[in-house]
């Protein structure tokens, strides 16, 4: 039986592991955290279907219950070397493992909003990240800085994406629809609040995203303003004052809001960056580079090393799962 190592037990790693296991490969799945799916466990509901994240976690975890899969948690892999048709993996403590092929699914990390100092994250309590809001929605409790129900919530798109100042010129792809999703969930918890989304472009690229956007206007009274918020400051009563331009009417705009939600982008996780560098397969912005974006989009320049999911580029869960299946197929056909 061929041995395959998979690094990272997110949606991508689990999906690929279960497909390979079903086809009689022996899979070892390494996970840095104490449990799989760390980047899904902190979510509330998932676009496009608003399924509870906890349900998806259960279904994915069930896929791990296979005799051919060995899950090893709290194991951080930092390097891979290919020798004589075999891959040697190194963990953080220098221990080594062998496999005939390795799939990297080390995923992403959310942009650290502290880096956009002018938006006041970590300085003003009313400024929160999309991940902070996701956690509030999961606990069914959205509060402002003085522990009251917010009357006004304002989302800002493209924080740490499409921004030379953050060093990230790319679009993170998932935050537009995530804002629509979160605004709708916020509305369900706060029927009275005013909810605004400041955007530069609304990128509703996926099936049903556009309909969700439309529904957010029609049924959930979410209001959209085209402009980038350039500064935030605190008011004496714990609110946040923001400055922007309504670029459609062509006038500067200021307003106070209880919560300013920063829609932070996706960056390669530290694990992705380390492996990209150590295996010399780093691409733009330290995501992992594939050989070709069309026909060889799971293979890397190193023989025997493959990649799937958001370790390559920002991706939704649905795209991540398809990509993982494609990677599993590629590995199977290369093993014949």
């Amino acid at each position: 039986m061929k041995k395959i190592a998979i690094i990272g037990a997110g949606p991508a790693g689990i999906e690929a592991a279960s497909i390979l296991a079903a086809h009689n490969f022996e899979v070892t799945l390494f996970e840095k955290s104490s449990t799989p799916l760390s980047n899904i466990l902190d979510k509330a509901f998932l676009f496009p279907s608003s399924v509870a994240a906890a349900d998806l976690v259960d279904e994915l975890n069930a896929k791990l219950l296979h005799d051919n899969i060995q899950l090893i948690c709290e194991k951080e892999i930092v390097n891979i070397k290919e020798t004589n048709d075999e891959c040697k993996l190194f963990d953080k403590d220098g221990k080594t493992y062998f496999a005939s092929k390795v799939l990297i699914t080390t995923g992403y990390t959310i942009f650290d909003a502290h880096r956009k100092e002018e938006l006041g994250y970590g300085i003003y309590k009313g400024v929160i990240s999309s991940l902070d809001l996701e956690k509030m929605i999961r606990h069914k409790q959205i509060k402002n800085s003085i522990d009251e129900l917010p009357q006004r919530i304002t989302f800002l798109q493209c924080v740490g994406s499409r921004d030379e100042k953050s060093g990230n010129n790319y679009c993170s792809k998932i935050c537009c629809v995530t804002a629509v999703k979160q605004a709708i969930e916020a509305r369900k918890l706060l029927p009275q609040a005013e909810i605004y989304i400041f955007y530069m472009d609304l990128r509703m690229w996926g099936q049903t995203f556009e309909e969700l956007y439309r529904q957010s206007q029609e049924e959930y009274d979410i209001r959209y303003i085209r402009g980038r918020i350039s500064e935030a400051s605190a008011t004496f009563d714990g609110k946040v004052q923001i400055k922007s331009e309504d670029t459609l009417i062509g006038q500067p705009l200021k307003m106070t809001t209880d919560l300013l939600v920063l829609m932070c982008g996706m960056e390669p996780s530290p694990g992705t960056k380390t492996l990209a560098e150590n295996c010399q397969i780093a691409g733009d912005y330290h995501f992992i580079q594939t050989i070709d974006p069309h026909l060889h989009d799971n293979e890397t320049a190193q023989t025997g090393i493959y990649v799937a999911g958001s370790a390559k580029r920002p991706m939704s869960i649905r795209d991540t799962l398809s990509d993982a299946a494609a990677a599993a197929m590629q590995i199977m056909s290369d093993c014949q």
Partner: protein
């Protein structure tokens, strides 16, 4: 005959792209190529120092310039104090001070 309601919210004039003179735009883009990168996000306008005191919208001035609508722009640009705050927030890295200086220069030359 059109009914007049006694007010208007839009200019009656149509931007006729077949008649616009884009010569000054091309000149500006040659001297300061970063001008081309603007995505009209409005962050510059929002943060602009001059805008805090007088009615002035640097993004709109840039847009009008791009569309060859140059009438009155020299007067508008005189409001800018060249403080450079706009450059600090621009997500596309436009170097706005030289852009403004060059717009002023080009608008006053034949």
């Amino acid at each position: 005959m059109a009914i007049s309601f006694g007010f208007t919210i839009s200019q009656t004039r149509v931007v006729n792209m077949d008649n616009c003179d884009f010569g000054k735009l091309h000149q500006l883009e040659r001297i300061t190529p970063s001008f081309k990168k603007c995505m009209n996000c409005g962050a510059c306008t929002a943060t602009c120092s001059a805008q805090q005191f007088v009615s002035f919208n640097i993004r709109k001035v840039k847009s009008l310039y791009t569309m060859g609508q140059l009438g009155g722009l020299d007067k508008e640009l005189a409001k800018c104090m060249l403080c450079g705050k706009c450059t600090l927030v621009c997500p596309r890295g436009l170097n706005l001070r030289p852009i403004i200086m060059n717009m002023r220069k080009l608008l006053t030359t034949k």
